[in-house]
Amino acid sequence: MIVCVAVVGHQNNPLYIQSFTEADDALKLHHIVHCSLDVVDERVNNPKKSGPMLNETFLGLLYPIENYKVYGYLTNTKVKFILVTTDIDVKDADVRNEISCCICRCSFKSIPCAG
């Protein structure tokens, strides 16, 4: 189950952040998203570690924390999509499709420009 979705602009400014839990741990999820921004920067600036995935937009699993998994997607315009999920046996391809659907929906609605 996806518990949190966040869209972060190119200056690491939050553009959209939404958590889908009934409990009061929205702040914890915001903190997890904030930490994942560093991981994204590290993946992008470290070409030796990324290897063949250097120019890939979908960054895959960023890091696991507690019982959550955090996935990342970086567009050409440095907009980051962060997805926090509690699913244990989720495949990369499924998450990639989810994020593509999110983006398609975003681009047909007007959200504040990242600039």
Binding site: H10, S107, C113, G115
Partner: protein
């Protein structure tokens, strides 16, 4: 469903926008009109680049981003590609379009040819007025290129140069 707009509408909108800003809003201040038009182009370029780079893999370096502008971006906006790309490999690129669509239907006033040899010194001003009027129409595409490149993380300055209608070239200088 994709919404579409006719090309002639876009052409008319561009012409009217330049005329409006130059003759009405900033009537005697061409520099301010130019800056305003360029700023509109900047915002449009940012949003267009966001839309057109959605499914592409990320760019490795500046040259790839400029090639994207020359090929995919230009064909999405103008239905044709940039005809010639030159670079000095030190951050300056020249994008040449041999038949720029927004200038293709423009004509130069032929009355500038009927000047006697005595008044030769006034001929340059008439020609330079035509050149200035023409260049006002190029601020918008310059803004589009600048907006697209800065949204891709490449701050730059873009200027246009018309030596022969309807060909024009855009000079992109990347800020180090």
């Amino acid at each position: 469903m994709v919404r579409e707009v006719s090309e002639s509408c876009v052409d008319s909108l561009m012409t009217e926008m330049v005329a409006c800003y130059c003759n009405r809003f900033y009537a005697n201040k061409p520099e301010l009109a130019a800056r305003r038009i360029e700023a509109i182009g900047y915002q449009v370029g940012q949003q267009l680049s966001e839309r057109y780079t959605m499914e592409r893999p990320r760019f490795g370096d500046h040259l790839e981003a400029i090639k994207f502008i020359c090929k995919d971006f230009w064909s999405e906006v103008f239905k044709k590609q940039i005809d010639n790309l030159k670079t000095n490999h030190r951050g300056t690129f020249v994008l040449q379009d041999n038949k720029f669509p927004w200038l293709a239907r423009m004509s130069v006033d032929p009355s500038t040819d009927n000047v006697s040899s005595v008044e030769d010194y006034s001929a340059p001003t008439a020609e330079s007025k035509a050149a200035q009027a023409m260049s006002m129409h190029l601020y918008f595409p310059c803004g589009i290129i600048r907006g697209a490149l800065s949204n891709l993380g490449i701050p730059c300055a873009v200027s246009a140069d018309i030596s022969s209608l309807p060909a024009c070239s855009f000079v992109v200088r990347i800020k180090a």
